[in-house]
């Protein structure tokens, strides 16, 4: 079943077309990779899906409702969460607060109860704290909950960003280059974590990644973009053999970064 679908999406800034007539879909329960050379428009696709940009043509559907005129916060409420290519944590907030605030959409107590601190408010706060700790425990950041986010080492920041996205309890998780800047050890760990999220939390995942080993290692299906267009898709094996892909991407000498 289609969870997310881009239908003939186009996005242009001024005269520049970043994405043109793109069709793309993610099925329920899938773990999909999106690859392509630098500047192919992958991050732009994420920005379209999360409502940061509105498509100038075409439409985006999530569980059969259109996303194209929604704000990012509304998209999030529907169940799409994301991480960012260059980590965007709430740097001066504690690790715990980062995860706490991400549960925002599940808060039902209005402003008055928050200000007046009614009992139901305390109950809800307790739930939020419990959940936040649970998630942190899950990604292995329990010890760091009191630290300010910008003080964490790089790898942990990446994990915290994922934890924060998970706190919104998404159906679909968009990961933007989660392995960037990690050494092979860390990458190994990361792959395990992503697979665990997928398996245990039953979250569908779409992931942008440069590192072919990561993509090929965990993805069920891979889509390849170049110049804002989809040039191939299929199982990792199929894609690796695709002539177009080899020409645009794999043909170039790939080095581990």
């Amino acid at each position: 079943m289609n969870l997310l679908e881009l239908k003939n999406c186009t996005l242009s800034f001024g005269g520049l077309t970043a994405v043109s007539h793109l069709n793309l879909n993610v099925n329920e329960g899938e773990l999909v990779g999106l690859i392509g050379p630098n500047g192919a428009g992958k991050t732009t696709v994420f920005n379209l899906m999360t409502g940061i940009y509105a498509p100038s043509g075409g439409d985006i559907f999530f569980k059969d409702s259109s996303l194209s005129s929604l704000r990012p916060s509304q998209v999030c409420r529907l169940g799409v969460a994301r991480t960012f290519q260059n980590i965007r944590l709430f740097g001066n907030m504690s690790v715990l607060d980062n995860v706490r605030v991400a549960q925002y959409i599940y808060l039902n107590r209005g402003l008055w109860r928050t200000v007046l601190r009614t009992r139901s408010f305390y109950e809800e706060e307790e739930q939020v704290f419990k959940k936040a700790r649970e998630i942190l425990n899950w990604v292995g950041l329990s010890q760091d909950e009191a630290d300010e986010a910008h003080n964490l080492p790089y790898g942990k920041q990446r994990r915290l960003e994922m934890a924060r996205a998970l706190a919104t309890r998404p159906h679909l998780l968009l990961l933007d280059e989660p392995a960037a800047g990690m050494n092979p050890f860390e990458k190994e760990e990361l792959m395990k974590l992503i697979e665990r999220i997928h398996r245990e939390l039953k979250v569908s995942i779409l992931l942008i990644e440069h590192d072919m080993k990561v993509v090929m290692g965990i993805c069920h299906r891979v889509m390849v973009m170049d110049h804002g267009e989809m040039i191939a898709e299929g199982t990792p094996n199929e894609v690796q053999k695709n002539a177009k892909v080899i020409e645009a991407y794999l043909g170039q000498q790939i080095n581990n970064c």
Binding site: N38, N151, Y154, K213, Q252, Q253, I254, N255, C257
Partner: protein, 238 residues
């Protein structure tokens, strides 16, 4: 020619460099490899005077004259002959290519010599000559990298610090850039090269250091390190 002893740098209460010592000898290409956040860029920034170290010494010698780079302003360090090609290129996007190059020679007074350097830079990167009046911001990534290198060369350095010249470039361009690095080294320039792309860096360099969370964990001739099992596992993914 560059000698760093037990350098400690911290941002607030986080120690970014925890006692790094390394050396670059005359005519060498030395590479520094390591993952993101290991402190490579911090090290280069500290050498260039953008960050003040907590402790440790940085010595630079030219013509048997020893000088400490600690507490020196960035432009004074450039005047001594240590230039840097910064991470992300940092070309002055709102200035033309010619103006960028002219600023590279900001500290030099002799117009004729500057002119010579400029010719040499164009020789090295003919593409820049074609785009001399264009704003640097409109150049492609590769061209910006060339401009950044050319600009650093305009100061007539003896030691060139390069921070991830391959970042975000197509592999074919990366090759070109690395060829250039080899060329300028052969003309007598010492180079300290910071790279994530360990493969290429180790092929190019004479010696290498491996930096991990602010500490040097391995050092030696590049070729040896390329064979080292640990390095292979950690950085070459083999």
């Amino acid at each position: 020619m560059l000698k760093i002893n037990n350098l400690i740098v911290s941002y607030g209460n986080i120690k970014a460099l925890q006692g790094v010592s390394l050396e670059v000898k005359e005519g060498e290409i030395v590479t520094l490899i390591g993952a993101n956040g290991a402190g490579k860029t911090t090290l280069l920034k500290t050498i260039s005077g953008l960050i003040a170290p907590v402790s440790g010494t940085i010595y630079y010698s030219k013509n048997e004259k020893n000088s400490s780079l600690n507490h020196m302003a960035p432009h004074e360090i450039v005047r001594l002959g240590v230039s840097q090609v910064p991470e992300g290129r940092m070309v002055f996007a709102n200035l033309s290519v010619a103006e960028n190059l002219d600023l590279g020679a900001f500290l030099r007074r002799d117009a004729r010599e500057v002119r010579e350097s400029l010719d040499k830079a164009f020789q090295l990167f003919p593409r820049l000559k074609e785009r001399v009046t264009q704003n640097a911001g409109t150049l492609s990534g590769g061209e910006q990298q060339m401009l950044a290198i050319a600009r650093a060369l305009m100061a007539k350095p003896k030691l060139l610090l390069m921070d991830e010249p391959s970042l975000g470039l197509a592999p074919i361009l990366v090759k070109e850039i690395f060829e250039t690095i080899r060329k300028i080294n052969q003309e007598g320039l010492s180079i300290l090269l910071v790279e994530q792309n360990a493969h290429l860096a180790l092929q190019l360099a004479h010696r290498a250091y491996v930096l991990e969370t602010g500490k040097i964990v391995l050092e030696g001739p590049a070729r040896e390190l390329a064979m080292n099992e640990e390095v292979k596992k950690a950085y070459l993914g083999a």
